[in-house]
């Protein structure tokens, strides 16, 4: 299919260049790696949420024909004794109780599905048969699932090292919240549950490890969003020297945060390959993914709000009980703290606010970042608060938002707790555009008519700001993250002027192979098809920090642009030399260096590249070849924002929610590829609507995961998605080299409260003001039924 590839690539809706490969089955995912003699690893997993292991009998499994090895914690602990946590943060006087996260259960299982033994066999069928032959005798213990119950006196103790099941207590304080609460005209208390979610990427996790005993080198193919971080953590946890480790994350079928962490399954493939002298592969089934891959969210939040009678919020106090699950996953402690607490006032000027987070262990799958990571928990809380305040003071929620917004002349804006400075924004602009799109005045009139006819229709708003482009390394270090958050780019212009780009961020659905080529094509005056983007292989790509927190375009793209400018600077010297004019007599116009006043006299980047590789005719002091590298460490985060509006009708008799209209106005600064931007917003909104209406990881009181498969865990289907009306405003980031802000998480962050607020607006005539998510029909009907009795 012919695709227009304009020279001015930046800002064009170019189709994803990776798609022909991916949609015709020619992608190369980890599970597509087939090495000769590769053995298959599988895990024996706990059927209990909490139990003491009395004994493990591996004899029958070991004796089974085709089984190469059966291992328990005792066998593997010499290779790896614990999974590292890379964000061991706390900021109060309380010590962080970072429980040991063993790669296989060490004497006790602490969540349903925890790996107890590793079986390696010649093929998958044999391994599956052998898993059934491992006999584990358990002594079940009482489990604790609820975050508040976990820290209540008398709760079952999960880790001896964490008394009271508390991992940390973390706080941020801005202004005088208690004083402001005491003097507030109106006060509201509300408890909100932000339920546990399962990321459900299309591709489950997979790892293939090939250890070479002769060289001591290991190659690990793994489903990772951040291969260099994986390499570092493998080195730190196993002692294999970092330069002997090659991590390859080729095509990865979605991550949503769940492929940030470094997991035991990956480490144990390396162990088994080293032990057995053959490559070892492990590939999750979906039901295994549901227990073995990090879950997300899972907060209980107690909120106190004080406001004036006009609805201006003067005080906000949040105490959140956040579950880490049974063990601290790679980035877990940072998610409900910094990524949640810093942005607690969102797009609003709330001078007095406090946030306290109690991180708890429960008998559940460990949690970690999930699309939005912390920011959806803050935004959902805040947007529910705004609507509750509006209802309390009897004002339109739009007016209450407007009243509380940070105004556009307040930027750069420092939040009350002092942790962040918002770079730029015009929150009213996005709100007004959203109102204009829905024709708000008529929409409210329509709602009145519908209500008069007995229909439950509601209009919900969500205004948000997010912390993206993670982030300045100094800020990351100060927040306790054990790594920098810069990123990298290498641009290699080949002698013919074709370009290979190496980026330290990773694409697993984002479309970097297209959008990053657009950045380079623009900067170097090339066609997009002349630029290839390489990522995900630590032997090919310089150190980089990977993709999460909507950082790729802002940080990876920023690095790429800076490297492009270095190419341009060198090429300019060569061009001037070839044109036999002084460097200052040429300028970059469109796609070439042109002599000022004689634009027909020009040299392109390919011209310069050829000369650079011929190398015999270069200006003095200019080295051969044309290749540049840049590490970009941003000076600040970037802060995308926007407003979403959702219109719903709730079926009074069945409790079903029907989305009648959905409008999203997002501002992610400059837009590299509008089509990809729209795709990110579409997917994000789908996930956010799903949290509002359908998705929930449900455990019973014994720690059994009841939503253990797609039969019971409701991800959104294309057939249930409403038409999405997208729009945007453009407020460039003043400090980002490209002016971009990030769009990967915006839809998820904004849509959840928009939908819930719409449903609550629909139900408000019945006196219903809050129902916890997901708004399953049964739950909504029960509330309607109770309200009508």
């Amino acid at each position: 299919m012919a695709v227009a590839t304009p020279t001015r690539a930046f800002g064009a809706s170019i189709r994803r260049r990776e798609d022909p490969r991916l949609i015709t089955g020619r992608g190369k995912f980890t599970d597509d790696i087939h090495l000769a003699n590769a053995a298959t690893a599988m895990f024996v997993r706990s059927p209990h949420g909490h139990a003491r292991i009395v004994s493990i009998d591996t004899s029958a499994a070991s004796a089974h024909p085709g089984v190469l090895g059966v291992y328990t914690f005792e066998n593997v602990k010499g290779f790896i004794s614990g999974m590292p946590c890379a964000w061991p943060t706390t900021n109060t006087g309380d010590t962080l109780k970072l429980a040991t996260y063993p790669p296989l259960a060490d004497g006790k299982v602490r969540y349903f599905g925890e790996a107890v033994a590793l079986v390696v066999a010649v093929d998958p069928n044999t391994a599956a048969d052998a898993v059934d032959l491992v006999h584990v005798d358990y002594d079940p213990l009482p489990a604790v699932i609820n975050n508040e119950a976990a820290v209540a006196p008398g709760a079952p103790l999960i880790h001896d090292s964490a008394p009271g099941n508390q991992a940390f207590r973390w706080s941020l304080v801005g202004g005088d919240t208690n004083g402001a609460l005491a003097h507030a005209d109106v006060r509201i208390s509300q408890t909100l549950v932000n339920q546990r979610l399962i990321a459900t990427p299309l591709e489950t996790r997979c790892a293939v490890a090939d250890y070479n005993p002769a060289s001591g080198e290991v190659t690990v193919w793994v489903t990772s969003q951040n291969p260099h971080i994986h390499r570092l953590l493998i080195a730190l946890s196993t002692g294999i020297p970092e330069h002997k480790i090659r991590v390859i994350a080729g095509d990865v079928g979605g991550g949503f945060g769940a492929k940030i962490p470094y997991y035991a399954g990956e480490a144990l493939c390396i162990f088994a390959s080293k032990e057995l002298g053959v490559p070892v592969r492990w590939s999750e089934s979906r039901s295994e993914n549901y227990v073995a891959t990090a879950h997300g969210r899972d907060h209980i939040q107690h909120i106190e709000v004080g406001a004036t009678k006009e609805g201006k919020i003067t005080a906000l106090k949040v105490t959140a009980y956040a579950s880490l699950g049974a063990y601290p996953s790679t980035a877990a402690p940072g998610v409900p703290t910094w990524l949640f607490g810093c942005i607690i006032q969102g797009p609003y000027d709330i001078p007095n606010n406090e946030v306290h987070v109690i991180g708890v262990y429960t008998n559940t799958t460990p949690t970690d970042a999930y699309r939005g990571a912390g920011r959806p928990e803050a935004t959902y809380m805040l947007e529910r608060v705004i609507d509750l305040v509006a209802a309390k003071v009897g004002r339109d929620p739009v007016e209450v938002r407007r009243l509380n917004f940070v105004k556009k002349d307040q930027f750069p804006f420092k939040v009350a707790n002092g942790t962040l400075t918002y770079d730029s924004g015009d929150y009213e602009l996005a709100l007004d555009q959203a109102l204009h799109t829905v024709d708000y005045t008529h929409l409210r009139a329509w709602q009145e008519e519908q209500r008069a006819a007995g229909k439950l229709v509601g209009i919900g708003f969500s205004s948000y700001v997010e912390i993206c482009g993670l982030g300045p390394s100094s800020a990351a270090n100060a927040m306790g993250f054990a790594g920098g958050l810069y990123d990298s780019a290498t641009i290699r212009v080949h002698p013919t002027g074709k370009v290979t780009v190496f980026t330290g961020v990773h694409s697993h659905g984002q479309g970097h192979e297209t959008s990053f080529a657009q950045i380079v094509a623009r900067d170097l005056g090339l066609k997009v098809d002349d630029v290839d983007v390489i990522h995900g292989d630590t032997d090919k790509v310089q150190h980089g920090m990977g993709t999460y927190g909507s950082r790729s375009a802002a940080v990876g793209g920023g690095a790429l642009h800076m490297a492009g400018m270095k190419i341009r600077a060198k090429a300019q010297k060569i061009a001037a030399h070839l044109l036999e004019v002084a460097e200052e007599d040429i300028e970059w116009v469109d796609d070439a260096f042109r002599v000022k006043g004689s634009p027909d006299k020009a040299k392109t980047i390919p011209d310069c590249a050829f000369a650079a590789y011929m190398a015999g005719n270069l200006p003095a002091g200019v080295t051969p070849v044309l290749e540049e590298q840049h590490w970009y460490d941003p000076e600040n985060f970037v802060f995308p924002f926007g407003t979403h509006i959702c219109v719903v009708e709730v079926d009074r008799e069945t409790g079903e929610t029907h989305i009648k209209r959905y409008v999203a106005i997002d501002d992610c600064g400059e837009i590299i590829n509008p089509m990809l931007r729209d795709g990110q917003v579409h997917g994000g909104i789908a996930q956010g609507i799903a949290q509002a209406l359908w998705e929930e990881a449900v455990y019973d009181e014994n720690g059994q995961l009841l939503s253990g498969s797609l039969m019971d865990y409701a991800i959104p289907k294309a057939s249930v998605m409403p038409h999405l009306e997208l729009g945007h405003t453009v407020t460039p980031s003043p400090h980002n080299p490209l002016g971009v802000k990030g769009i990967g998480e915006a839809g998820t962050i904004a849509s959840t409260p928009a939908v819930v607020n719409a449903v609550m607006d629909a139900l408000s005539p019945l006196g219903i003001h809050h129902i916890d998510m997901p708004l399953r029909p049964a739950k909504v009907w029960a509330a309607i039924d109770a309200a009508s009795h």
């Binding site: 599956a128 048969d129 008799e653 039969m711 019971d712 409701a714 049964a778």
Partner: protein
Amino acid sequence: MHPAPFAYKAAHSVEEALELLRSHEDAKILAGGQSLIPALKLRLTQPAMLIDISKISSLRGIRRENGKLIIGSGTTHREIEKSSLVAEASPLLASLAPQIGDVQVRHRGTFGGSLAHADPAGDWPAAALAVDAELVIAGAHGTRTVHASDFFTGMLSTVINADELLTEIRVPGEGTPGIYLKHRNAASGYATVGVAVTATHNHGRIGTVSIAVTGATPVAFRASAAEHALTGHAVSAHLLDEAASHAADGLECLSDIHAPAAYRAQLVKVMVRRALGKLLHA
């Protein structure tokens, strides 16, 4: 996701399938595999042998005979969905078929497989009961015909014996108005509650009416009391309200994380009312 070892044999005729069933203990019929394959992969079922009947052409197809619609048990949901014969002869079946699973599932899954599996949340059992389908079961001594009302014996259970095979389903083909309403489980797409209703009316008076419900209880059932309350009466909104409001009386509904029993009972009432309303225009 690797099944326990099993033997596999494809049968090419009903006789061959029956012979295989007789000569192998613990054999299981594989038709479209939409329920069986996941269960095998999860090792929730571990039969010694699978007998694949998908290659038996005589089990596939839709025809009309003596005013009845004859549907081979191996006919896919998609074939029923796309059949103009079904659309004309059985509006209820035509209404139901496109509501099953998704297009991929409908291309694979079979009418007979769904009935024989008797999933409490399956769709076809409601329709089979509502139209009082006759199910033809082949065995060593020829065939027997069982009415739908006698076919389902409990959750996942039917009268089909281990050495028998469901071969065809006969349903009335006179085009009786009918409709299937389904409340889909948001995760699985299965019926939280599905209601299959047929009804005729003449000069404002209800003729025959049948109401069958799936998803609500361990096995699909006919809402006989509601049917009796309607038959022969003049159509009115009040009558339909009254009949539907008792449709869940005495039911012991299923309960799960998506829908507690009380909600299922509510859905039965609401959906019966809505289905009647659509068919009787009241």
